[in-house]
Symmetry: C2
Subunit: 335 residues, 2 copies
Amino acid sequence: MRIAVDAMGGDHAPAAIVDGAVAAARHLEVEIALVGSTPAVEGALAAHAGWRHLPVTVVEAPDVVGMSDSPAAALRRKPKASIRVAADLVARGEAAALFSAGHTGASVMAAYAAFGAIDGVDRPALATAIPTRTRPAILLDSGANVECRPHHLLQFAVMGSAYARLALGVERPRVGLLSIGEEETKGNELTREAHRLLKAAPLNFIGNVEGREIYSGVADVIVCDGFTGNVVLKTSEGLVEAVESLLGDELRGTFSSQVGYLLSRRAFRRFRKRVDYSEFGGALLLGVAGLAVVGHGRSSVKAVRNAIAMAQRFASSDFIRRVEQDIGGVGTLTS
Amino acid sequence: MRIAVDAMGGDHAPAAIVDGAVAAARHLEVEIALVGSTPAVEGALAAHAGWRHLPVTVVEAPDVVGMSDSPAAALRRKPKASIRVAADLVARGEAAALFSAGHTGASVMAAYAAFGAIDGVDRPALATAIPTRTRPAILLDSGANVECRPHHLLQFAVMGSAYARLALGVERPRVGLLSIGEEETKGNELTREAHRLLKAAPLNFIGNVEGREIYSGVADVIVCDGFTGNVVLKTSEGLVEAVESLLGDELRGTFSSQVGYLLSRRAFRRFRKRVDYSEFGGALLLGVAGLAVVGHGRSSVKAVRNAIAMAQRFASSDFIRRVEQDIGGVGTLTS
């Protein structure tokens, strides 16, 4: 199985991407197509002795969509952008899945353009695995659609449930609707109407969940519009950084010995890896007729490797067909 | 100066409310009107020897708006509900400010009905002080309005700036608009249009801020609709709880000695107080022509005392008139 990797996308590209891809090629049953400027990619590969013996190929793509580019315009202007070339490899059947840590909007658009939507899905959504006190949960949409209608949230719930069944091994994932207040009359227009649709759908819908419950583990799948989902994830990221900084001050005050302080810092760093989105791998783009994993811009080497493993896992499980079947089952409810 | 305290509102009412009010009466230059069922309030007061020598009076209000009541209906049905009687005391000039830790929606509605809106304000907003890596910042709306229009966010920014000037002592508070993406073209319809209005207003507007920056200290005032604001605050609350639980696991693993573990837990508990909204006092209701501080349902004794101190501080500073003046200055921009 071959995974197409956008070697040029991400804050630490191509080095971190190439390093992660090489680790995946070494340790997983996977071939890698590194898509990007050949000199840049080969330059990064040079750090890995013997890479030519690994199942790694370089696919030339001279252009890049930058982090500050307008994605629609950049994709139009740059047919040879690495994200477009990588998505096309998947669309042509030359790779089983796509990974990019580049501009999220551009990755979503390129995948949507290359793969098309699954029948019955109006909008693709980004699904992110988040840690909770118990097992991970799936939050979606984490940023693909800033404006959503109630039936989009229903489709997100169906796709998120398929994700949770496969990735978390939960038979009947508990679906929560992110809102403010638990009663179905609480929330805004979008959530009140979405609540009605979710209640009638063949899902294990547990009702509204408040922000406070996102990390408690009460729900396996949490649906919301992409504006709210993105704010939630980024707020969490910033809060963990602030906690680390403020807690450092407290710990410095508590421990008379330098040793205790260092031990606590080490514990915190390990903890942070459990909640750090840049460590996790990536968000899965749901609703398109092909597999795409979108990484955090700050993806580390380990995150890239994890994201490739995730892409491989979904690609070997006939995931797209499962989502098609599930979406087919609720199509009549929304039309 | 007299503060009207809704003695019956909150998860631990009347005990925690009465205890906090007594602490305020003992240590601050303030009189307290405890509004609620006289037997219940006097029962809680009985725990404080010599309370009759304190500047504390009990004002009878036999009814309560419960946490699960529909606030509009409950307020209509119960003219003698503690929150209504307390708000009426302020409206009649018999108290300078109101504090309640009861049903937030009911507190907002009761204050709005009793005080009316400030000229030029279309919607009241709840403003919450949040900790950042540097000094606190003001987030609003934290839940009074689930649906907002762009000019509401402009009014929130003006009122939030007045709050920050007084409470944080910042001459020109930096105002950020909570959105996804820093460019003004990013975000949803609401934030894109609000960005345009904020840019043209006589404010120190620094542009969009992302969720990740809320706790970084880049902005003194962060404006958003009440749905988003409420989700942000409750997500943060839940995340801090999850961090505490997960970090406990890590620390147990790190420290061989029980002593080190206990020291770390103590440090974490101290840290948590810095970020726990139930410790802070309360949210200030902005835009109504009277002072109201709304506490967290789980308000502790200390939080009640802090909230009363906050109400007193705003009441002695002619705050409402300052907001009226500031709102007057932008009125022509939005009409």
